[in-house]
């Protein structure tokens, strides 16, 4: 055997390279220390919106520990990269950049208010980072890079309004918080009241710092409606329910709300102040299905002081699992492959029931529930299976226009 000089040099170089590289190969193979897949999270853990944000992050942690316990995804463990956005829109923009550019996460779950979602959505489109928004909202987002797993008005308000009108009567008085959410939700309420042959007597908006509802209560009494529809938001507005009850109006005119009970209102107010208030969401902590009981139990065990577990937390949990299912199906964390896997109409059986991705809208087809408050708890009365995001479907078709990227204001 003749060994040429070139051959000798080449083989010894190969050997040297292999020897140098071997520690890395050995440690990885031998000890299973694959690089973790990073999952980004942007949720408010402090500031006014924290009561909503805390259960959402806990739900992500729960989902990740479940997936890791089952061996991770693609043989790699998952790791949460969480930033506390402090109820501050500026923090959202800043941390969105960090997640996309520095941390290079595989997916981001985050955003609570519509304002925070619209602040980060363009960033994730630009840096090609898959984004999940898991909150119920006013509908209309149409973006191939974004999946909205929460309910929209066509799934909840559409059930709530006719049910409440059927119970009490057709003359309706609407009160709502004076920002994006309240304004658009009030429009949907008016539409559904009209569709079901009712009449809207008045629509009143309240800035978020209004605490004294005396004049409004007098005004409502003068208008004599059969029903009050409320989209009031936050701690200050909780005062309305209290002042309403203390004036003795509670037994006179019933209330249905699209926001009541998303934090912990039923357990805060006295039974006499809240009994009978009707709400409709994609999930209630009080659901008694095995999946729901297991989820609530696990979450309360992981974090005993957790506030009420509403649709916000449950949607986040289900959004995370939908993404994990898609990664399994795609066999990669590469963004386009995961999006295409999700678009096949992927579904997940979560605490709220079966949740299915709707390809044209990137929203979900999911159950909606209607409940009333009884003894400071929600008492689930009706289940609407497979409610579709029809409002967004009316304006958004990502099958036809995959390049579409905006939030439509749905004309009502």
């Amino acid at each position: 055997m003749v060994i040429s000089r070139r051959h000798f040099l080449r083989s010894s170089a190969t050997f040297a390279a292999a020897t140098l590289a071997s520690p890395a190969i050995f440690t990885r193979g031998a000890f299973g220390q694959e690089d973790p897949i990073l999952v980004g999270s942007l949720h408010d853990q402090s500031g006014p919106i924290a009561a909503s944000g805390v259960p959402m992050v806990e739900s992500l942690n729960l989902g990740i520990s479940e997936v890791n316990a089952a061996g991770g995804l693609l043989g790699r463990p998952l790791k949460l990269v969480h930033y506390d956005t402090q109820s501050n829109i500026q923090m959202y923009s800043q941390y969105a950049q960090q997640l996309a550019v520095r941390d290079k996460v595989a997916v981001v779950h985050g955003g609570i208010t519509s304002a925070s979602r619209e602040a980060v959505r363009p960033t994730f489109s630009r840096f090609r980072t898959l984004y999940f928004y898991n909150t119920l909202y006013e509908g209309g987002v149409c973006d191939r890079n974004t999946f909205c797993t929460g309910t929209t008005p066509a799934q909840t308000v559409e059930k709530l309004v006719p049910y409440a009108m059927g119970k009490s009567g057709k003359r309706v008085y609407i009160i709502a918080a004076d920002y994006n959410y309240g304004q658009i939700t009030a429009k949907w309420m008016q539409k559904y009241v009209k569709d079901h042959g009712g009449e809207t007597l008045s629509v009143d908006f309240f800035p978020l710092d209004v605490t004294n509802f005396g004049p409004t209560i007098s005004k409502i009494q003068a208008a004599k409606p059969d029903l009050i529809l409320s989209a009031l938001v936050g701690g200050n507005h909780t005062a309305f329910y209290r002042q309403w009850a203390s004036a003795g109006m509670k037994s006179q005119i019933p209330i249905a709300s699209t926001t009541f009970g998303l934090v912990n209102e039923p357990s805060t107010l006295d039974a006499a102040e809240s009994d009978g208030i009707i709400g409709a969401y994609g999930y209630f902590e009080e659901l008694t299905t095995p999946a729901s009981t297991a989820y609530v139990g696990a979450l309360k065990k992981a974090s005993p002081s957790i506030p009420y577990i509403s649709e916000l937390a449950c949607g986040t949990y289900e959004g995370f699992h939908l993404w994990a299912e898609a990664v399994k199906k795609a066999g990669t964390i590469e963004r386009m492959a995961v999006i295409e896997a999700l678009e096949t109409g992927l579904s997940f059986d979560g605490p709220s029931g079966k949740v299915t991705i709707d390809h044209p809208t990137h929203h979900t087809t999911r159950n909606a529930y209607l409940a009333d408050v009884k003894e400071r708890k929600w008492n689930v009365l009706e289940t609407y299976t497979d409610a579709k995001p029809l409002d967004t479907a009316a304006v958004c078709d990502l099958v036809k226009n995959p390049g579409d990227n905006k939030q439509y204001e749905i004309s009502i």
Binding site: S46, G47, P48, A50, A51, V54, D178, D204, F205, F206, P207, D209, V210, T211, N212, G214, P215, T216, S218, K219, Q221, A222, G234, G235, N236, H237, T238, A239, R242, Q243, A245, S246, A247, G248, M249, Q252, V263, N264, E265, T268, L269, D270, A272, E273, S305, P307, Y308
Partner: protein, 288 residues
């Protein structure tokens, strides 16, 4: 007719709540010239004291009328000793320090009790006037406002402490030469202002949703009322609270709550433009 009675009650209720909210600030800011941006957080502490002690089984009236003012008064005392006493006569610095204090108090309460909504049910129930309903608690708030007015007036006008306090606030150097320990008077006055604010928090607890950030809803309104009222703590604050309460409630009734707020702030601007010294600087000169 029934409606106008109810509306009159609304206006009285608005004015009484505003007066109760502002009285403590009138003492701390109007009298002592400390810009207390943590005023809203004092209200919040009073509300929390009421809710926590009621939930612990205490009678709600004792919680509102005793626990809230005593607790916030003590907090005020500590804050005066640790922070405020270094800042007398330094208006802008006091603003910065109390702003920091307000952030600290919000953070502290959030850490201790979480960021959820708390509350206690409203006592007393409602009554009917014709086809309309209102709550007895509204009437109670009005009565409390009148009682506080009388009490603070009595203390400031007829007690030795009131006389000395007013003297110290007007001319601390002269008061000190006459043998008054001004440091003690400042401390006691600040604690009194905090206690009165805590009482307002306690009284508002049964009609509000209570969160660590609730104070921010009250700060701006309290300041414009005290500034609009001018130097006299009782007559000034009472007249401004009456005026702004009327404007706000009627504005909210006749238009919408959004415009109610706008009208309130516009009328405040107009008032301060026309009467730079506040209402009491023009009409109730030399009164309390």
């Amino acid at each position: 007719m029934d409606l106008s009675v109810i509306l009159a009650l609304d206006v009285l209720n608005g004015a009484a709540s505003l007066f109760l909210l502002c009285l403590g600030l009138a003492i701390i800011f109007g009298m002592m010239k400390i810009i207390n941006l943590a005023h809203g957080e004092f209200v919040m502490l009073g509300a929390y004291a009421t809710v926590l002690s009621t939930n612990a089984g205490l009678n709600i009236w004792i919680a509102m009328l005793v626990v809230a003012p005593v607790f916030v008064g003590l907090v005020g005392l500590v804050i005066e000793r640790c922070l405020i006493r270094f800042l007398y006569g330094r208006l802008v610095d006091s603003m910065l320090a109390t702003w920091g204090l307000s952030l600290f108090l919000i953070g502290l309460v959030t850490t201790l009790f979480g960021n959820t909504i708390n509350g206690v049910p409203t006592p007393l129930g409602g009554f009917e006037i014709g086809a309309y309903r209102s709550s007895w608690y509204t009437i109670f708030l009005v009565a409390m406002a009148l009682a506080m007015m009388a009490l603070v007036y009595g203390v400031m006008r007829f007690t030795r402490f009131g006389l000395v306090a007013r003297a110290v606030m007007q001319n601390p150097g002269m008061a000190a030469t006459l043998g008054v320990n001004t440091a003690h008077i400042y401390m006691a006055t600040f604690a009194l202002g905090a206690a009165v604010t805590g009482l307002a928090g306690g009284l508002l607890a049964p009609v509000s949703g209570i969160t660590p950030v609730m104070g921010s809803a009250f700060v701006a309104k309290s300041f414009i009322t005290v500034v609009g009222g001018g130097a006299a703590i009782i007559s000034g604050t009472a007249s401004a609270a009456g005026l702004f309460g009327l404007v706000n409630q009627m504005g909210a009734y006749l238009t919408t709550p959004v415009y109610g707020e706008v009208i309130l702030f516009l009328s405040a601007i107009l008032l301060i433009r026309l009467l730079p010294q506040g209402i009491s600087g023009r009409f109730f000169k030399g009164t309390l």
